[in-house]
């Protein structure tokens, strides 16, 4: 009977030529779940942790709804236990030679290789993603990641001398993520000697399997611990004593909330937010290949997010026709079927997509859906949204999976304006057969990764990250390693939280200042140095600066919110010109400034002396300041590099781009040297700057401004004096400042961290601890250079 049925089927298929199911057996995934009696706990310190009296959630097949296992939900105690395990193994792990850690990572790579079928079937079964993608891409990449980072560990002592592992790393992952996201982060962390606690959402067994594979490789069971629990445990994990770094990936708003919650808690916070990508299609592109790029980006279960598609008007119709035709050939289905393009991602993702589509339609958009999609199912079809009015709310919102939102552009200039007109800056691809045009676009896009005539390529050696609200953390390449390193000798972060700090009131009120008598000695330069000249402050009032004897040294202008606004505007205006200067031109300017400082030495020394600095020390301070300017000028020449990666003919350019407008609040210690030490790296990396000089001793900085007025382009450096807390508040809350370095009080640091959540600007705070600016490591170390620019990876495939 069975044979006849088969036979008649073949006959029918011969006519219809349809595709059939190509199911991948997931028996081994179920067998692995059986080893845990279908009851998953956490994996801590090399063993399963299944505490009693915990609630559990079911882990379901997203397509059939079948219960696969029940998963325990962690509570705070379990988090504490996991962090304790990581802390206990840190000492041993981080002090091993890099070569030893390299061997351990290689062993883990081999363990994954030996059990890869289990890994890919389990991942596809529980996430619903197409098994093809997991099997052919994620699993090999996971092994490559381990191997690449093993090599990095092996050479760590030489290549990363002067840096040490941060310590215990907390990693927080979002509800729908490929296990690869975890690999991208744990590999560098483990390689450099950190130990990790991963908090995964409930019902995600693959990370547990990975932890088990790692844990069974004695003798370091506690280096990777995985607990599953609700996202409310994120702050709990981050606030555990000993956690020095928190890496979070997920939605933008959650990242913002975590940034606010963790203000003052101590650990460094690395955010990787939003998953939307961008594809820019010009009229001189291979449109068919670009359409495949769109499929790669949005409808092949590769990227977790949706796609914004910009099409040059001249090829709009042609592209739409090809795209719609192509969409008709896409296949959705059970992820374990080897012949589907797209699986399902569960109810939450589908509802999100549905909501966006409905809203877009109500705002006037056209929606096109196609593809072979099972109807009685949790699937969402490939969807193309067009004609969305540019100002509608949906056009601003993040595009969810599996949507593509298409809009036209006329010129390259307009394309850049539209593409950069979102708060997100993750990844983008540019499709153009004209090299000059492609590079113009690639350099102009404010994103972390640009692919030319390709989309979604990844390699362990290439840093991947973002800018703007996509967060500033990196994974892969050298940048990925620095995420888990800090300069040797940096004390461990401890909480400096002030629970009484009122964010609404910090620095809000300007203390009134009254005349304090006439100035004695030569009057210092007066005014705010904004836009290349000294200007009167908007408040039209001044603050007295007293010398070490308590007598009046001089009056400086009292800057306020409006002055900050003006300074930031001036800095933005100066930015394009400064960015386009060659490194050599920047260096020449810094050297000229150094020479000017040298000429002004007696003047600067006497200003410092009046503030109680000994003559000898004052001379050293000026001398060192001159040296800093020269040193950074010389260093700037060596920026960026080209990488050669597997599976790509052609280079990947690793560019170092300026952050944009960088605000710096200078410390009171070493008033001149700290000012110069912070200014110099910021300038050479192409940033324009708004500075608040030392509150107690701003006059040496103003003296330098007199030189800058004649030497530097207007607006490149802007110096605003005044009440430090008030100016800090204005800067931290400013949405159009891309980074803020703060060297002041603990409370100020906490406020800056909290307020930076607004536009998720990069922040670097001193947590109230003074720095040894006269020491090479702290005053001019590579850390400053790393913080003063961001990386962009530019993929350039070649072929005739």
């Amino acid at each position: 009977m069975a044979a006849t049925r088969t036979a008649s089927r073949a006959c029918e298929i011969f006519t219809t030529l349809e595709y059939g199911p190509a199911p991948e057996s997931h028996a081994c995934a179920l067998a692995w779940l059986d080893t845990q009696d279908r009851h998953l706990g956490h994996y801590v310190n090399g063993q399963w942790l299944k505490p009693e009296h915990r609630s559990s959630v079911p882990c379901q097949d997203p397509i059939t709804g079948e219960n696969l296992a029940s998963c325990l939900q962690a509570q705070s105690e379990d988090v504490a236990a996991a962090v304790e395990a990581a802390r206990a193994s840190l000492e041993n792990w981080s002090t091993q030679p890099g070569a030893f850690r390299a061997q351990h990572l290689t062993r883990l790579a081999k363990a994954i290789q030996k059990h890869q079928r289990l890994l890919w079937t389990l991942e596809s079964l529980v996430t619903g993603r197409a098994v093809r993608e997991v099997r052919d891409r994620d699993v090999p990449l996971a092994q490559q990641l381990l191997q690449y980072h093993a090599v990095q560990a092996h050479t760590q002592e030489e290549a990363l001398a002067g840096w040490e592992p941060m310590g215990v790393v907390g990693l927080i992952l979002p509800p729908t993520f490929p296990f690869l996201d975890m690999m991208w982060r744990i590999c560098p962390a483990l390689a450099v000697g950190c130990t990790v606690v991963v908090l995964v959402p409930p019902a995600t067994p693959t990370p547990l399997l990975l932890a088990q594979l790692a844990g069974e490789l004695a003798p370091f069971p506690g280096i990777l611990n995985v607990i599953s629990g609700p996202d409310s445990l994120g702050p709990v994990l981050a606030a555990q004593p000993g956690v020095q770094k928190v890496a979070f990936c997920g939605a933008t708003e959650e990242g913002r909330a975590l940034r606010r919650t963790l203000a003052g808690w101590g650990p460094e916070l690395g955010l990787a937010l939003a998953a939307e990508s961008l594809l820019l299609l010009t009229e001189v592109a291979d449109v068919d290949s670009a359409v495949e790029g769109i499929v790669d980006a949005a409808w092949s279960d590769r990227s977790p997010g949706g796609l914004r598609l910009l099409i040059q008007e001249a090829v709009w119709d042609e592209t739409m026709r090809r795209l719609q035709e192509r969409m008709g050939r896409l296949r959705c289905g059970r992820g374990l079927d080897g012949a589907v393009d797209m699986g399902a991602r569960g109810a939450a993702a589908r509802d999100l997509a549905q909501r966006y589509v409905r809203e877009a339609q109500s705002q006037g958009a056209q929606v096109f859906q196609a593809g072979s999609v099972p109807s009685d199912s949790p699937f969402f079809p490939p969807t193309l949204v067009s004609d969305l009015p540019p100002a509608s709310p949906c056009a601003q919102a993040e595009v969810p999976w599996p949507l593509v939102v298409a809009s036209p552009f006329r010129t390259v200039k307009e394309a850049l304006a539209v593409a950069n007109g979102t708060p997100r800056g993750g990844s983008a691809s540019v499709w153009s057969e004209r090299l000059g045009q492609a590079l113009e676009l690639a350099y102009g896009l404010q994103v972390g990764t640009v692919w030319i005539n390709a989309h979604g390529l990844r390699d362990p050696a290439v840093p991947t990250g973002g800018c703007k609200e996509s967060g500033s953390s990196w994974h892969g390449g050298q940048d990925g390693l620095y995420e888990y390193l800090r300069p040797s000798g940096t004390p461990a972060w401890i909480p400096y939280l002030s629970k009484t700090l009122n964010y609404d009131a910090f620095g809000l009120a300007l203390p009134s200042t009254l005349p304090a008598g006439p100035e004695t000695g030569p009057a210092p330069p007066y005014g705010l140095f904004v836009g290349g000249r000294f200007q009167a402050p908007g408040a039209r009032s001044s603050r007295p600066i007293r010398d070490s004897q308590g007598s009046l040294h001089g009056y400086v202008a009292e800057g306020g919110a409006k002055d900050i606004r003006g300074a930031v505007e001036a800095a933005h205006q100066a930015a394009p010109g400064w960015m386009s200067q060659s490194p050599a031109a920047r260096a020449a300017l810094l050297w000229a400034l150094a020479a000017a400082l040298q000429r002004r030495e007696p003047n600067l020394v006497s200003r410092l002396e009046r503030h109680g600095v000994e003559l000898k020390v004052a001379k050293v301070e000026v001398e060192l300041s001159v040296k800093r300017l020269r040193a950074w000028g010389a260093r700037v020449q060596a920026q960026g590099c080209a990488l050669q990666v597997a599976e790509l003919r052609g280079p990947v350019l690793q560019l170092r781009e300026p952050l944009g407008v960088l605000a710096i609040v200078c410390p009171d210690e070493w008033p001149l040297l700290a000012f110069v030490s912070l200014l110099a790296p910021a300038l050479v990396h192409g940033n324009t700057v708004v500075l608040v000089p030392s509150g107690a001793c701003p006059i040496p900085a103003l003296e330098v401004c007199q030189e800058m007025a004649t030497l530097l382009p207007a607006g490149l450096v802007n110096v605003v004096t005044g009440d430090q807390d008030h100016l800090t508040r204005c800067l931290a809350l400013h949405q159009d400042i891309q980074a803020l370095w703060y060297f002041g009080s603990a409370q100020g640091s906490q406020f800056v961290e909290w307020a930076s959540a607004g536009n998720l600007k990069l922040v670097w705070v001193n947590r109230g601890c003074p720095r040894a600016w006269d020491q090479e490591a702290e005053g001019a170390g590579p850390e400053l250079g790393r913080r003063a620019a961001r990386t962009k990876a530019l993929w350039l495939p070649m072929g005739d």
């Binding site: 073949a10 006959c11 011969f14 093809r132 449109v287 068919d288 790029g293 050939r329 393009d341 495939p797």
Partner: protein
């Protein structure tokens, strides 16, 4: 191939506007091989479809009437009868699409096919195959003679000198290569050709056929070729009128796979008749 292309005015601006990005096409070619596996009875049915698209070919210097006869018999009975029966496909007239021989062997093929009692067309390579570097006059004469002998399809070697100097001509079918080159039918090249066929269809409504030839030896390859056609052009191109595979040893591997599908065992070489 019943109807011939009416043809259109030659518009070279179509060609000059085409952009092909090689690395992207190579990626697509890689993907297409991994994204549409066809299994079980689908595989069997698809393989039979592939059989009906084969131009069963022998292009050897030592071809004689006897091996042409064997080839023609195999074209008529490409899959063992009992295997087809098991699939309930024995009465569907499964034959290869054509036999393809040198002009001098067209007579032998026509005679053998007539003796076997079937109307499988005879295709002949002509016009100075495989280089095409002969005079136009002899090339045309060669075609005329082959047609006289009973060939109904002619695989013309185009004058690549003209192509490389930008002087294109139209065609009913386009073929990846002669099968005698160092590199023959590859997926990236096919993708570019199929996209050109689709664009031409969109512009003129004319369907041009496609024939990959050379190096297609495994049943798995033939499945990928079919899915490539399905993905890039659609179902209407998956028929012998618009798709041919030029191959000689492919059929043997397909028959082996069908044998395995039906019996659950792997065949020995002597289990299946040779062509």
């Amino acid at each position: 191939m019943s109807a011939h292309q009416q043809g259109t005015e030659l518009d070279l601006s179509w060609i000059s506007k085409i952009q092909v990005n090689k690395p992207a096409v190579l990626r697509r070619a890689e993907q297409i091989q991994a994204r549409r596996p066809v299994k079980k009875e689908w595989q069997a049915a698809w393989l039979l479809k592939a059989v009906t698209c084969i131009d069963l070919t022998t292009l050897s210097g030592d071809d004689t009437a006897s091996n042409i006869q064997r080839l023609c018999y195999k074209a008529k009975y490409p899959i063992r009868e009992d295997l087809l029966k098991a699939l309930n496909m024995h009465d569907k007239g499964i034959t290869t699409a054509a036999v393809c021989v040198y002009p001098a062997r067209v007579c032998d093929a026509v005679k053998a096919l007539k003796a076997a009692g079937c109307d499988i067309p005879v295709a002949s390579v002509a016009t100075g195959f495989p280089a095409g570097q002969t005079h136009l006059k002899t090339r045309l004469e060669e075609i005329r003679l082959a047609v006289e002998d009973g060939a109904t399809e002619i695989d013309v070697v185009i004058n690549r000198t003209l192509v490389l100097t930008g002087q294109w001509k139209g065609s009913d079918f386009i073929k990846t290569s002669t099968g005698k080159e160092t590199v023959n039918a590859t997926f990236p090249v096919a993708i570019v050709m199929l996209r050109a066929i689709r664009d031409f269809f969109w512009k003129t409504g004319n369907k041009v056929g496609f024939k990959p030839a050379g190096g297609i030896r495994s049943a798995k390859d033939s499945l990928v070729w079919l899915s490539l056609i399905k993905e890039e052009l659609g179902d209407e191109w998956m028929k012998p009128e618009l798709f041919r595979i030029g191959a000689s040893t492919l059929l043997a591997d397909i028959e082996r796979q069908i044998y395995h599908h039906v019996t659950g065992r792997y065949a020995a070489y002597h289990d299946l008749p040779m062509s």
